[in-house]
Structure formats: structure tokens, C-alpha cells
Symmetry: C2
Subunit: 359 residues, 2 copies
Amino acid sequence: MTQTYSYQQLYSFAKNIFIKIGCSEANAETATKVLLSADLRGVDSHGIARLTGYVRLWEVNRINANPTISIVHETPSTAVVDGDRGLGLVVAPAAMQVAINKAKNVGTGWVSVKNSNHFGIAGYHAMMALENDMIGIAMTNASALVAPTFSVERLLGTNPIAIAIPAGSEHPFVADFATTTAANGKLEILQRKNQDTPAGWVQTKDGEPSTKASEVKNGGALLPLGGDKEHGSHKGYMLGSVVDIFSAILSGANYGPWVPPFPAYIAMPENLPGEGIGHFFGAMRIDAFRPAADFKLHMDKWISRFRSAKTIKTEVRVVIPGDPERAMEIERMNNGIPLLRAVVDDLNTLGKKYELEIK
Amino acid sequence: MTQTYSYQQLYSFAKNIFIKIGCSEANAETATKVLLSADLRGVDSHGIARLTGYVRLWEVNRINANPTISIVHETPSTAVVDGDRGLGLVVAPAAMQVAINKAKNVGTGWVSVKNSNHFGIAGYHAMMALENDMIGIAMTNASALVAPTFSVERLLGTNPIAIAIPAGSEHPFVADFATTTAANGKLEILQRKNQDTPAGWVQTKDGEPSTKASEVKNGGALLPLGGDKEHGSHKGYMLGSVVDIFSAILSGANYGPWVPPFPAYIAMPENLPGEGIGHFFGAMRIDAFRPAADFKLHMDKWISRFRSAKTIKTEVRVVIPGDPERAMEIERMNNGIPLLRAVVDDLNTLGKKYELEIK
């Protein structure tokens, strides 16, 4: 069912594809690093499986391979960045760097981005803050697949939030999650296996509860974290809304049902109120609050206390956010990245078109 | 079952109680305004029903009625505030004001608070930003009632997050929610009525799923938003953790299982790693990103689009966060605040002790 490739094999292939569509060497490297960080961390839906999708967006002129990424408005702690229709994989790290630079100067930096595209996994960008002893925050809106509580219509994307927090001798705390009950990637896996979803993940196109993994493909919707009103779906809806507003209404990007879709074959929404997709980034220097050593000491204590909590089954421990992804990264860096047959076929077709091979 | 009082009646009573325990006139007014905003907005669990609880904390010397609230560390966009064991109802607005002042100067302000106590409803503090054309954020940790995913132990509070966002001709967007499936207040209501909870709200003291509203009282735990792993409880756990870390590890307050309990009769945890309870506040000037008029125009469009979404039942509309609380506030300001008999009895006992009457 799967074929395994080394990180280096996929890195060379993806980088060369990005160069073929006109990216600079430096931008191709950044885009590849961000894209493959998803495969390494086990978020297969957001990694190289999407390479063809990005190329198709370029083919229909919805991505600019050589963007001029610029700050269009700023204060000492804030900026709005115009991504110039660039790959989100390139725009996002540039914008996060602006946030980090501002945090160096005045303690924190907050950057809202317009005119961008899909940026890979949010966690990558948030984690850029860690090496600077900063807390990193990254979020993005996305095309509408989610129905707010009581809605039949899809009005929000899966709008993920990532928050990376440095620790001392412990590994950093890295939360990265969609504001839905389940990420769309998980739904796609169930659909491929022809399995049902648990209750509370999806609804039909008429707004009725369902457990069919195919519902979203057929006009239904993913549900906000919580699932239904009784279980707090209005909270997931609020979270997804805040991501949408911070990413797009602060910057001037598209929002709600107007966010451009990722598949190039889906028509763009009409009467767009903004430009491209929006992101939001934050960086907070920990020593802007207290000495970094004190912060890290207590972060270590927090982490070890939670990790050693009493659990029902002694073999299942409380998970510190970021631990499973870090273990996966080591495993896949050492032993390769398994790709589904369908993904391999897709990459080979792409390679043929652009005269490249995975080797 | 209930007795209704005017806002003014409760205001005078609560203010005079705060003065009796030694608060200044100004602090008593602030504390009362914050406390009663919960009753007005329909969050009955956090309003005047807690007045006796605050007084008891003062009686056992866990609250300082005359705190010297001070900034102990700062940068242009950040500060740590020491609440000097003051009423959170007084410390929180002072700290939020620091965040607002910093946002005036450098675009945003971020304040972490230690050595405080329970601060009422998070929404009140976040909403302070609105009149300054700023987005306001408020969060707090609280004593541990919530079990992280897989944990039997209670390690987190209900750790609420509030986010208030200005609009133009529409009313502002105000989200204010506990990071659990259901707030503890809702559990208390079911317990009083001797009713079961829906699945996914609580677990037993051994970590087994339960629908008994009395579980938490008997050593069980509230569950993070999501309810169980299959429905994303790890996301609620991550959110609650971030609130805990921003509120307490950035500031030097107590965190996790060490957060001091609200009921004065419960013993303090041992070997405290910090001081008091922690909060975190943020303020972002909207014109630090784009002209305020543009932002508001698009916020109005966002709100009206979501409010007019197609719903399953035409009589049930998509709710814009903040709308129900605003309606309740108007209703209760006009027609009074209904209090349960038990709350009235409690207030009368308190009044007798301090030689005051609700009149």
C-alpha cells in the first residue's frame, strides 16, 4: 500500500519542482522545508501529497512563484504583510520573521498577512520562535468546509492554531490543531478505507448529523470542535471565527465563505471582499515577562508534572503537545517517509510533466 | 424558586460589603461592577452568588483588600503585574488597563499577572478594549477540576478565554468560554435539579466516563472541550494548558494542580511553585493593522453574513458571539436579576454578619 522514500529523495524532487515553476533557489528551499516538515511530523495530508496541488494553482495563475513580500503597514509591535500571491510556504516564514524581529525590539510582534496561499502546517511557523527563546503563534484561515453551530452552510475553514512554547531540559510544548472536531486529513483517511466517522465529526448537506466520511465531499460539512451545541461546538465555532478575523479582517484577506479553495479546479468565490488567504503570526520574547531561565525552570516542572499524571491505563500516559510529532520526525528522518500508492502515482505524473524523477 | 432584585439593589449591597472588608471606595466600585457584570450577562455562577466566597477568602487572610498593584517587569509591549493578593475583580481591570496603555503606544500590549485571585468573568476585562477601538483578550487559570486527556488526576482549571472584537454598525463580537466541554456552572445547575449530564462532560474519580452531575464534587473531573480523544479532547486540553502557561508561567503565579482553590475551606496545595492565581491580558489596536474604518466595515460584513446563514430550523439562527449576553444584559438591567433562594439566603446571612441589608 505504501512506498518509502528518504527525506533527501523527497527534498530534491520537491525543490526541483518548485524551481521548475520559477521559484528562486532560496524560495524553493524554504517551500520544500516547510512542506516536508508536515511529512516528517506525521501530518501526511499537508505534506508532499499536496505538491501537485500547489503546482496546479501556479498553472492557473493563482500563485506567483516570485512574490515581492512586503510590509504595507506597521507599528513597533505589529505589521500587515502583503504576500503578493506567493506560495504560503514562502510567505509565512517571511511574515513570522517580521514578528520575531519586532519581538526582539519591543517584546512582542504580531503580523497579519493578506494575499497569501496555503502555508503548510501551522506548527512549523510557530516553532521558528523557539530558537529565539520566544513563544510562537501561527494561525491561518482556509476555504470553507465547516458549518458554525446551527448552520447548514459551510462558512469557516478548519482554521488551525499552533502555539510553540520553549522549555529548559524538557522538549518544547508544541500544540498544533484544527479548530474542528477532526482535521480534514483524518476524514480523507477514513474515506479511503471506506469507514464511518465517530458521531460529531460531520453533517449532511441538509445539516443533519451523519457518520459518513464522504459527507464533506458531497456538500456536507465538518463540525467545529465540540461537535454539537450540547458538547460545546459553539466554542469551536468561536475559535475558528477568531482565527478567521485575526488572519483576514486585520489584514485585508478574504474571509468566511470567500476564502479561495485549494483545489485549482474549484471555481473562485464571487465578489471577493479581500485578497488571497490570510494568516496571523505572533512572537513573544519570554524574557519580556521574566528571566528566561526562571520561565524554563517552571515550564520543565509543568511538563514533568503533567507527563507523570496518574492515568487509567499505566501504558497510556498523558501526552505533552509536540511529543508524538517529535518522535515521528526522528523515526522518519532515520527510516524514511512512507507514501501511499496514490500519492506516489501523482508525484510520478507530476515528475513526468516537469521532466523530473524521484531518485 | 427565585427572587428578583434590581441591579441597583445588588450594586449597593455588594459595594458596601466590599467596603466593610476594607476596600477603598474606588476599589469597591470596580469589584462590584465586575462581579455584577456576570449576573447581568447571565453567567450566574460567577456573579453575586460568589460574593460570600470572596469575603471568606478575605476572612482567612487569602485576599488583601488594599493591594498595591504594581508592574514588576516590562518592555514597550509587555508587563508582568503583581496583584499583591488583591481581589482579582480589582487586579484584572488594572492589568488590562496596562495592556491598553501599551497598545496605545506601540500597537499591542500583553500583560501576565501573578499573585491575584478569581477575577469574575473574563469577558468583562476583554471588553474594556472595545471603547479604545482595540481587540481585547483575557484569560485566567483556576484551581484544578479538569483531567487532561487520559489523565485520572485533575490538573487544569476550567481556564476560560475571552476575546472581544470591535465592529462598526453591528455590535461587537464577544467570545467568552471555558476550555472544557461545559462550564462548572452548568454542572452545578444540573446537580441542583438532580439531572444527568450529556456524555463527555465528566469522568469518575477513577477516570471512567460518567453522566452524573455529582462526579466532580466526588473527586471526579470535568473534561476538556472535545470530551474524549476521538472527539478532540486533546485540543481542549492544549487550550487549557496554553491559558495556564500564559497566565502563570509567564508571570510567576501558581499553575496546574497548585492553583489555589476558591472555597476558603479547602486547604491550600502544598509546596506552591508561584504566587496566587495567574491571568493574561492582551490589547491590539485595530489601526495598528489597518484603518479602523476598513476593519469595521469588513467586521460588519462578516457578522451579517454569518447571522444570515441558512439553518436547519429557520427559527434558530447562527449566533454571533456576544449577542445572547447583550440581550440578557438589557433584559436584566430593565427587569431585575433573579437570584435562587439559596443565593438569597446566603447573601442575607452575609448581610447579617456585616450589618447590611439588601434594600
